[in-house]
């Protein structure tokens, strides 16, 4: 037995083992995002080649279309604004593990509120410096009310918030369509849209470009939410409730009240996104003004790892893809749907690599 062993001990032996990291640092996190982007663009390359187009040209068109010129950058930021804000709305709710899926509906409710207020006050001659802030407040209040419905139902009667918010999405969407096809429709219009809002409702523009101040509001909001979550008592309770509701409850945090507050806050932010989009871009309520801003916001919040500082780049990235798709259509025969596919690849890759980077491969020496 001993001879067999001595020969074995001469050769150093080792094997590899996969093990979970105790904590993954910010570096690993960023690296995982980079790897995910490279992978998803690799897949996109391959898909474009399958269609028969030149992948290089197409991707270059997207990049140029989203960041190539000053105007392109500005358009990207404009496209990023609503999803940035709905992303922030998602962060607030999901941090408390309250699953608000109703951003789309709450955004519509905010837009309905703004439209209602504009139609009511358009002839009063309110100056812009009163009118615009007033309308933004109205959009937030309407959004908050829309959030309060699932909020009260959940905190009082423990009704599943996912079902309620999803159903409210449909209700608000169809209510909007009904109003646009009826009493709110612009006289003589063949489209589902209201009259154009007066000039005094326009969000101020930044740097004498098309970029409206909604983007600034979004940045401000991100800072505020960061402060809320990590520097305020309420934010502490929100995070405690989300991370461990049992311990939070045992230590006197009223988790029912927190879930209501969070729903109302999240709804208000989503409603604000609707108001900003109308006053900054469309200047009227028009059918389909939201290109799934609410749902995209959820994706962005998840990609931004539920952190306001992560939501910002994620929103700009998605804004760029949206914006770049227009340029892509002009410069190639690739359908617009490719952009949606790219978004899908990116999301899947980000989630996969996030999981992969939680592990590391370690060489284990066999001690003889």
């Amino acid at each position: 037995m001993s001879t067999a062993k001595s020969t074995r001990s001469v050769i150093p032996k080792f094997h590899y083992r996969l093990e979970k990291r105790k904590e993954s640092g910010i570096f690993a996190s960023l690296l995982s995002i980079l790897v995910a982007l490279i992978c998803s663009f690799g897949i996109t390359f391959w898909v474009i080649s399958l269609i028969g187009a030149d992948a290089g040209t197409v991707l270059w068109a997207i990049v140029k279309g989203s960041f190539g010129t000053k105007n392109a950058v500005i358009d990207t930021l404009i496209k990023a604004t609503p999803i940035f804000i709905t992303g922030l709305a998602t962060v607030v709710a999901f941090r408390a593990k309250v699953w608000n899926i109703g951003q789309e509906g709450q955004l519509y409710t905010g837009a309905l509120g703004v439209t209602w207020a504009v139609l009511l006050l358009k002839d009063t001659g309110l100056p812009a410096w009163i009118f615009v802030p007033l309308l933004l407040v109205v959009s937030a209040i309407f959004g908050a009310l829309a959030g309060a419905i699932p909020g009260v139902l959940k905190s009082r009667y423990n009704v599943n918030e996912i079902i309620v918010t999803v159903m409210l999405n449909y209700i608000t969407l169809y209510l909007t369509t009904y109003l646009l096809g009826g009493i709110w429709q612009e006289a003589g219009s063949h489209y589902y849209n209201t009259i154009r809002f007066p000039e005094t409702t326009n969000l101020p523009l930044l740097f004498e470009t098309r970029l409206h101040s909604g983007f600034l509001i979004a940045l401000l909001l991100a800072a505020l939410i960061y402060y809320l979550l990590w520097h305020m008592k309420l934010g502490y309770k929100i995070r405690a409730t989300g991370s461990n509701p049992t311990a939070a409850r045992f230590k006197g945090i009223n988790i029912q009240r927190i879930s209501l507050i969070v729903m109302v806050l999240s709804g208000a932010i989503s409603g604000l996104a609707g108001g900003i989009e109308l006053l900054g871009v469309h200047h009227r309520l028009v059918y389909g003004f939201s290109v799934s801003f609410g749902f995209t916001g959820i994706l962005i919040a998840l990609l931004g790892r539920l952190h306001p500082l992560g939501v910002a780049p994620a929103a700009i990235f998605f804004g760029a893809l949206h914006n770049g798709s227009s340029a892509m259509i002009i410069h190639s025969n690739v359908p617009r749907e490719l952009i949606t596919a790219i978004m899908g690849f990116v999301i899947i890759m980000l989630l996969v690599w996030e999981e992969v980077f939680k592990y590391r491969i370690r060489r284990v020496e066999d001690v003889q």
Binding site: K5, K22, L234, A247, F250, G252, V367
Partner: protein, 520 residues
Amino acid sequence: MTDNVVVTPRNEAPPILAVEHLTKTFGSLVANDQVSFSVKQGHVHCLLGENGAGKSTLAKCIYGASRPDAGRIYFKGREVAFSSPRDAIRMGIGMVHQHFVLADPMNAVENIIVGEESTGALLNLQAEKKKIQALCEQYGIVLDLDTPVAQLSVGQQQWVEILKALYVSVDLLLLDEPTAVLTPQEVQSLFSIIGKMVIDGISVILITHKLHEVMNISNEVTILRKGKVVDTVPTRGNTKASLARLLVGRDFDFNVHKEKIDFGPPALEIKGLTVLRDNGSLALQDVSLNVRQGEILGLAGVSGNGQAELFETLVGVRKAEKGKIRFAGVEILKESTHNPEAIASLGLASVPQDRLRQGLIEEFTVQENLILGLQDSPSYSRGVSLNWKAIKSFASQAIQQFEIKTTGPLQPVGQLSGGNLQKVILAREVSKPIKVMVASSPSRGLDIGATYYVYSRFLELLRNGAGILMISEDLDEIFNISDRIAVIYNGRIMGVFDVHEVDRETIGLYMAGLEEHEHS
């Protein structure tokens, strides 16, 4: 190379199991570091070590549930490398885990033969039952084989686990902390079963951290500390004190030195408390207890007899059906006061049974956990904002004062060891003036140093006039520091005793619900 050869002294049977230089790591943690020891045929061999010393990991490696990084295992003289417990069982190694793995709705017979392909495609339950009955008689096990195991007591469930091993006729049985959940009487029966197994030539490895068990039953003992073997010594010729020195690495005084404190008026009075479980069944029936200032009332009982519900009612997260709880001059079961915030502000501190689930937030940092529940206090906040500066200085102070082993106030609490988690909770709970402490299994999972640290903090609370209600199923703990002992069984208080006027056996009988003491 000589140290690699299994040493076979003359005149002695070869060891049934030999472990050589076994190493097992989890990331940077070395759970077993070059562990070598051997078990003689027909011996009871104890693996003694504190929590986290690597005993369970070692057992899992032997049983094939975990693959060692390095080292060799010899069983019956042959080198073995099990890839799963199935291989180990086939070779004749059985294991009873700390947490039983039984199918609740099935009866003992079905649980015992499950996974045994020797029975063929068709089950002959009657024949199997006869075999098992014979085993029961042979080893003196009293067990109803037809009852679903969910309805058996914890001790009886353990007999089922042991029968599973006997049924496949193991030659070596590993028992991982088998007495942790048993009453003293059940421990005695377990030890007598082990004794009969040894006579039949079965070798037993008993994993424990209790010195008196080692002294009671083992032939040899291997002491582990921080993943390394300190020594293997014969039990005979050693004492609890000499083993303790090996276990802790220094002389250790196991006595809790309590000063004589004159008990004050009741700090907490519970009268006729009736509480339901979530499923509507009775958890507590007409429970009356009082805790006086300056005393520790130990509440002994096998877990699941209403202790968790009592704890939850006291901290304010479970409603009571009937009864009164008077605390700090206030009847707290009223609507306005029966919530955790109000009760805590009256001066109730609590140490929950399940630290990471009920007492701490894993992802939160040490400093965030230190203010959980205190976040609204003006000491740690300014207006609507938290005062991180004040929180950090409080945290640094607490870390120093309670000797919490951490990289600092900003380390996520999930990365701390069990003892340090308990210290974080204690530091938080006693950071404000308190009148009563309710502690559930305060030393569970702690090493000896941390346990006695917790006890010393308790004594300090008593000196400051607080009363302590300590819920525990560990009778060592109960007898170690209680002034009075109450026993709970099936949601009812079976009796309350002065610690000097009662012995373990009596308490054990009440814990099993066998006697009811007339309330005096």
